[in-house]
C-alpha cells in the first residue's frame, strides 16, 4: 500500500432502521495524520455512521451495504471474529456520554486492561503498567489511584480520557470521536481536544471528529464533511468551508457568525440592580454549606442584554432564580423598577412577576404536557383571546394553528418558541433566559437567537442571558458577566470581555473558547492562559481569592485576602486586585 493512500476509505455505505435509511450511500476518504470533521444537525445520522464504521449498529438497525476499507482491507467483508479483532486495534471509537460507556461495576483500570489484553499479547502485570501509563500520558494526576476508581467516582472529563485510553491503547491508526466533548465545560473541552489531537498526531493516526460544534471544527479539523438526512451534502477544506460554505445547511449555521452585534439600547436607564446577592444550600446528611451564590453585584439596563457566563456549578442558574425569588436569596438587594424584590411580600411579588419572566433550558419540562399550546400561552394573558394568542405565536415564528397542539408533538425548537411566547405574553420588562439554547440542535439554536434579537429590537425588553455557550452569548449580549464559584469575577461590555478580558479566570475561559473562525486556529498555536489543577469544591472554599490555587499570576496576598469586585474607570469591574492595578 502506498504511503499516501487513504487510511480509511468508505464507499456507498448505508445503514437502515426499518425502511428509514439513517445513513444513505456515504463515501469519503481520510488520509493518514488527517483530522476530519463531520457535522450535521441532530438526527442527521452522524452517530449511526460513526458506529457503522466499526461494523456495528444499534438494534434493530442493519448495515445495507457498501465498503469500509481500513488500511486497504474491507471490514464489512471479514468474518465477525476478524472484525472484532480490528475494532480497537485498527479503528477506535470515543463516544459522548463517557460515563455511560463504562461498566459501573468495574474499575476504569480493569476496563482499560481488558481492551489491552484483547488486542496485545501482554501479561496481566504488563497490562496494568501500560494502563496506568496511558492515564498518565493523558494528563490525569495520580494515575495509579484513578485506575482503581469506579466510573461514578471520576469527573466527566476524566471519564472521557479513560475512553481515549481504551480507544487508543492498542494503537489504532483510525479514531472515530463522536461528540467527545458534549457535556464538558469549555476549559476541559479545550484541554481534551488538545490532548486528543496531540495523541493522534504522535501516533500518526487519522481522526474523524463528529460534532455539531463548528467552533471545534474550525479550530481542529483539516477538512469538513456535512451530513444531512443520512447523506453527505458537502465536503471542503476547513478554511474554505468557513469562508464560503457550499450547502444550504452550512450557510444557515454559519449565518449567525456573520451577524453584526446587537444594536445598543436606546436609553442608559438601569432596570435591575443586584447588590450583594448571596445564597447557600445546606447539604443533606453532612450538614455542610454549599455557597452557590456569593455577594453577587449585577446591573441590567432597560433594553439591554447581560450575558451571564461561567462553567457548570458556577451559580449562574441560582442567580437567575433568585432574581425572581423562585429560590429565596439569603441576603442582598434586587432593585427592580424602584422596589427591592428581595423584600417584597409574596402577594405583591406575584403581581410583579408579569414584569419579570423566565425561560428554562429544557422546554418540554417547562410546558404542561396535557395543555394545548394555546392554553399555555393564554395563561399569562389577563383577557385571553384567540386573536392575541395567534399574534403571540406569530411573533415567535409559529403558525397560529399550533395553538391547538400539545407540546409533546412539537420539535424542541418549537417548544422553546412556545416558552418564549408565554414569557412575552404579559409584556415583561426583563426575561431571564436560563440556557434557552442548550437543549436545542444547532439549527434550532440559530432560530432562537435570531428570534430573541428581533423581539428585543421590537419590544425593547431586557434579557439576562445565562449560558455556558460563549458563541451565543457573543451574538446576543451587550454586556457580559463572568462567574466563577458563585462570584462575579468580571463584568464589562461584550468587546471588553471577549477581546481583552482582565481577570485570569475570564482570560482562561476565553482562551479555551473555540470560535467558529479559522483565522487563529487553536491547533496551530500554543494554548495560553490555561488554569492549573482542579476547581475547588464549593463546599470547602479557599480563604483568599477562589482562583488562587489555579491562577498563573498568583501573588502571595491572593492566597489570604478575599478579593472584592473593583470598578475601573472604563466601566468594567473585576474581582482581582493585581489585574485591577494594571
Amino acid at each position: 500500500m502506498p504511503d499516501n493512500a487513504p487510511i480509511l476509505a468508505v464507499r456507498g455505505f448505508s445503514v437502515a432502521f426499518g425502511a428509514n435509511r439513517a445513513v444513505n450511500d456515504v463515501s469519503f476518504d481520510i488520509n493518514p495524520g488527517e483530522i476530519v470533521g463531520l457535522t450535521g444537525d441532530s438526527g442527521s445520522g452522524k452517530s449511526t455512521l460513526g458506529l457503522g464504521l466499526l461494523g456495528l449498529v444499534r438494534a434493530p438497525g442493519r448495515i445495507l451495504g457498501g465498503s469500509i476499507a481500513i488500511e486497504g482491507t474491507d471490514l464489512l467483508r471479514l468474518p465477525e471474529a476478524e472484525r472484532r479483532a480490528r475494532r480497537g486495534r485498527q479503528i477506535g471509537l470515543i463516544v459522548q456520554n463517557p460515563r455511560g460507556s463504562l461498566s459501573p461495576l468495574h474499575t476504569v483500570g480493569q476496563q482499560i486492561r481488558s481492551v489491552l489484553r484483547a488486542h496485545l499479547t501482554i501479561t496481566r502485570p504488563q497490562a496494568k503498567l501500560r494502563s496506568v501509563d496511558l492515564l498518565r500520558q493523558l494528563g490525569l494526576n495520580d494515575p495509579e489511584r484513578r485506575a482503581q476508581a469506579y466510573p461514578h467516582e471520576i469527573s466527566g472529563g476524566m471519564a472521557q480520557r479513560v475512553l481515549i485510553a481504551m480507544a487508543m491503547g492498542a494503537g489504532p491508526r483510525v479514531l472515530i470521536a463522536d461528540e467527545p466533548t458534549s457535556g464538558l465545560d469549555v476549559t476541559i473541552q479545550a484541554q481534551f481536544l488538545d490532548e486528543l489531537s496531540k495523541v493522534s498526531r504522535q501516533a500518526g493516526s487519522a481522526v474523524l471528529l463528529l460534532t455539531q460544534d463548528l467552533g471545534i471544527i474550525a479550530n481542529y479539523c483539516d477538512r469538513v464533511l456535512v451530513m444531512e438526512d443520512g447523506r453527505l451534502v458537502a465536503e471542503d477544506r476547513t478554511a474554505h468551508f468557513f469562508a464560503a460554505p457550499q450547502d444550504r445547511y452550512s450557510r444557515r449555521l454559519l449565518s449567525l457568525a456573520q451577524l453584526s452585534p446587537p444594536p445598543p439600547p436606546k436609553t442608559a436607564e438601569t432596570l435591575l440592580a443586584v447588590h450583594g446577592l448571596s445564597k447557600a444550600f445546606l447539604l443533606r446528611g453532612s450538614g455542610k454549606r454549599l455557597q452557590a451564590v456569593d455577594r453577587v453585584d449585577l446591573a441590567i439596563g432597560r433594553g439591554e442584554t447581560l450575558g451571564l457566563v461561567g462553567e457548570s456549578g458556577s451559580g449562574k442558574t441560582t442567580v437567575g432564580r433568585c432574581l425572581l425569588r423562585l429560590i429565596e436569596p439569603d441576603s442582598g438587594k434586587v432593585m427592580f423598577e424602584g422596589r427591592d424584590l428581595a423584600r417584597t411580600p409574596l402577594a405583591t411579588l406575584r403581581q410583579l412577576r408579569r414584569r419579570l419572566q423566565i425561560v428554562f433550558q429544557d422546554p418540554l419540562d417547562a410546558l404542561d404536557p396535557r395543555w394545548t399550546v394555546g392554553r399555555i400561552v393564554s395563561e399569562a394573558l389577563e383577557r385571553p383571546s384567540v386573536g392575541r394568542i395567534a399574534e403571540l405565536l406569530q411573533l415567535v415564528g409559529l403558525d397560529p394553528s399550533t395553538a391547538s397542539l400539545r407540546a409533546r408533538g412539537l420539535s424542541a425548537g418549537a417548544q422553546q418558541r412556545v416558552s418564549i411566547a408565554r414569557a412575552i405574553a404579559a409584556d415583561p420588562a426583563l426575561i431571564v433566559l436560563d440556557e434557552p439554547t442548550s437543549a436545542l440542535t444547532p439549527l434550532a439554536r440559530v432560530g432562537i437567537v435570531t428570534l430573541l434579537r428581533s423581539l428585543q429590537r421590537e419590544f425593547g425588553m431586557s434579557y439576562l442571558f445565562i449560558s455556558h455557550d460563549l458563541n451565543t452569548v457573543e451574538q446576543l449580549s451587550h454586556r457580559v458577566a463572568v462567574m466563577y464559584l458563585g462570584q462575579v469575577v468580571e463584568v464589562g461590555t461584550r468587546e471588553q470581555v471577549f477581546n481583552a478580558p482582565l481577570h485570569p479566570y475570564s482570560r482562561a475561559l476565553l482562551a479555551a473558547h473555540l470560535a467558529p473562525d479559522t483565522t487563529d486556529r487553536r491547533i496551530d498555536r500554543a494554548p495560553g492562559a490555561a488554569l492549573a489543577g482542579e476547581i475547588p469544591s464549593p463546599v470547602d472554599l479557599p480563604v483568599g481569592c477562589y482562583l488562587a490555587s489555579r491562577c498563573p499570576n498568583v501573588q502571595e496576598p491572593c492566597r489570604t485576602t478575599p478579593q472584592d469586585l473593583q470598578y475601573l474607570p472604563d466601566g468594567r469591574a473585576v474581582r482581582c486586585a493585581p489585574a485591577a492595578a494594571l
Binding site: N97, L105, H106, A118, Y150
Partner: protein
C-alpha cells in the same frame, strides 16, 4: 461497610422489638378463647379457672407482657432468649423451633441455591439470544410452572416419581423410619450426617429431599429466570456493552461484564422472594409431611398456642431480616455505588 451493617443490624433490632410488641397485643385482640380450647368446651368452671391460672391468663395483660419480655422477677422471657413453653405440649418452644426450623431452612435454602444455579445461566442464554429456541422454551415453561400452585406440582411429582417411576421415597418425612438419624448438632440432617460421617443417613436425607426440592426449584426458577433475563436484556442494550463491542472485546468477556451488572439488582429481588417463600413453606411441608416450621406455625395457630405463635413470627421475621441484610451486603460488594 461496617457502619452500614451496624446501622442495619440496629434497625433490624428495633423492628424486632416493635414486632414483638405488636404480635403480643394483637394476638390478644383476637376473638378467641385459648383456655376453652385447651380445657375443652364442656369443662367445669373450676377446671376452666385452674387452666386459666396455669396459663397465666388470669393476670393483667401488662403483667403477662412483663413475664413474656422477662422483666418480672423470677421469670425468664424474651430478653433472656426464652420463648416460654408451649401451652399444648408443655415443652420449651425454643426446643420445638430448633427441631422444626432447620428442616424448613434446609429445604428452601437448597432449593434457592439450586434454582439460582439453574436460572442464572438460563436467563443469560435467553437474553443473549432473545427469541431463540431456549428463550421461547423458557418462556413457555415459566408460564406453565407459574400458572399452577406449588402443592399441586408436589402432588404430581409424587405421582410420577414415587408411584409411577418409583425413583423417589414415599413422601412421609425427612428420613426413612428404618434409618437412624444422626446425632443432632445443627438440626440440619445433611450437615449432621456429614459431621457424623454417616453416609447412609446423608444419602437417605438427600433422597427424601429430592422431590420437595425439585418441586420448589421447578416453581421458583420461573420468576428468577425472568428477573435475570430482564436485567440482562437491559444491560445488553446499554452503552457500555456497545462500547465494549466497539473496543473489540470478546463476546464471552462482554457477557461476564454484563452478568455482573445484571446480577446486582437481581439480588435484592431474591431477598424479597426468600422471605415470601419462607412464609409459604407450609404447603410443601404438608404435602411431603416434613414437619418444618410452617407446619408447626399452622398447628400453633389452630391450637391458639399464643407463646408458640409469637415465637414463630419473631423467628421468621428475624431470618427474613437477616437474609435481606446478607443480600444487601452482597449487593453493595458487587456495586461500589452503594457503598459509602
Amino acid at each position: 461497610m461496617l457502619a452500614f451493617v451496624g446501622r442495619r443490624l440496629l434497625t433490624a433490632a428495633i423492628q424486632l422489638v416493635a414486632l414483638a410488641l405488636i404480635v403480643f397485643f394483637a394476638i390478644r385482640l383476637l376473638p378467641a378463647d385459648p383456655v376453652a380450647r385447651l380445657a375443652g368446651q364442656d369443662a367445669s368452671r373450676e377446671s376452666y379457672l385452674s387452666s386459666q391460672h396455669a396459663l397465666g391468663l388470669d393476670r393483667p395483660v401488662m403483667v403477662q407482657f412483663g413475664a413474656y419480655i422477662g422483666v418480672l422477677p423470677g421469670s425468664s422471657g424474651l430478653l433472656e432468649g426464652d420463648f416460654g413453653r408451649s401451652w399444648v405440649t408443655g415443652d420449651p418452644i425454643s426446643q420445638e423451633i430448633r427441631r422444626t426450623l432447620p428442616i424448613t431452612l434446609e429445604l428452601i435454602t437448597i432449593s434457592f441455591v439450586l434454582a439460582f444455579v439453574i436460572s442464572v445461566p438460563l436467563g443469560m442464554i435467553c437474553a443473549l439470544r432473545p427469541g431463540g429456541i431456549a428463550d421461547r422454551m423458557t418462556f413457555g415453561y415459566s408460564l406453565f410452572a407459574g400458572s399452577q400452585p406449588e402443592f399441586w406440582w408436589g402432588l404430581l411429582f409424587i405421582f410420577f416419581f414415587f408411584s409411577v417411576l418409583g425413583w423417589a421415597p414415599p413422601p412421609l418425612g425427612r428420613l426413612n423410619p428404618m434409618v437412624t438419624p444422626p446425632p443432632v448438632v445443627t438440626g440440619f440432617i445433611t450437615i449432621d450426617s456429614l459431621l457424623a460421617g454417616d453416609g447412609e443417613a446423608l444419602w437417605d436425607g438427600l433422597h427424601h429431599l429430592m422431590l420437595p426440592v425439585a418441586t420448589k426449584v421447578f416453581v421458583l426458577s420461573g420468576p428468577i429466570v425472568k428477573m435475570v433475563r430482564q436485567n440482562m436484556t437491559r444491560v445488553m442494550t446499554s452503552d457500555y456493552v456497545l462500547y465494549q463491542q466497539a473496543s473489540g472485546i470478546s463476546p464471552g468477556r462482554i457477557a461476564l461484564t454484563a452478568l455482573k451488572n445484571a446480577l446486582a439488582p437481581t439480588l435484592t429481588l431474591l431477598g424479597i422472594l426468600y422471605g415470601y417463600i419462607l412464609g409459604g413453606a407450609v404447603l410443601i411441608e404438608t404435602v411431603f409431611s416434613l414437619g418444618g416450621i410452617g407446619q408447626y406455625a399452622v398447628s400453633a395457630v389452630l391450637a391458639f398456642d399464643y407463646p408458640a405463635i409469637q415465637a414463630v413470627v419473631l423467628v421468621i421475621a428475624a431470618i427474613s431480616l437477616f437474609v435481606y441484610l446478607a443480600l444487601d451486603v452482597a449487593h453493595a460488594m458487587l456495586d461500589p455505588r452503594l457503598q459509602g
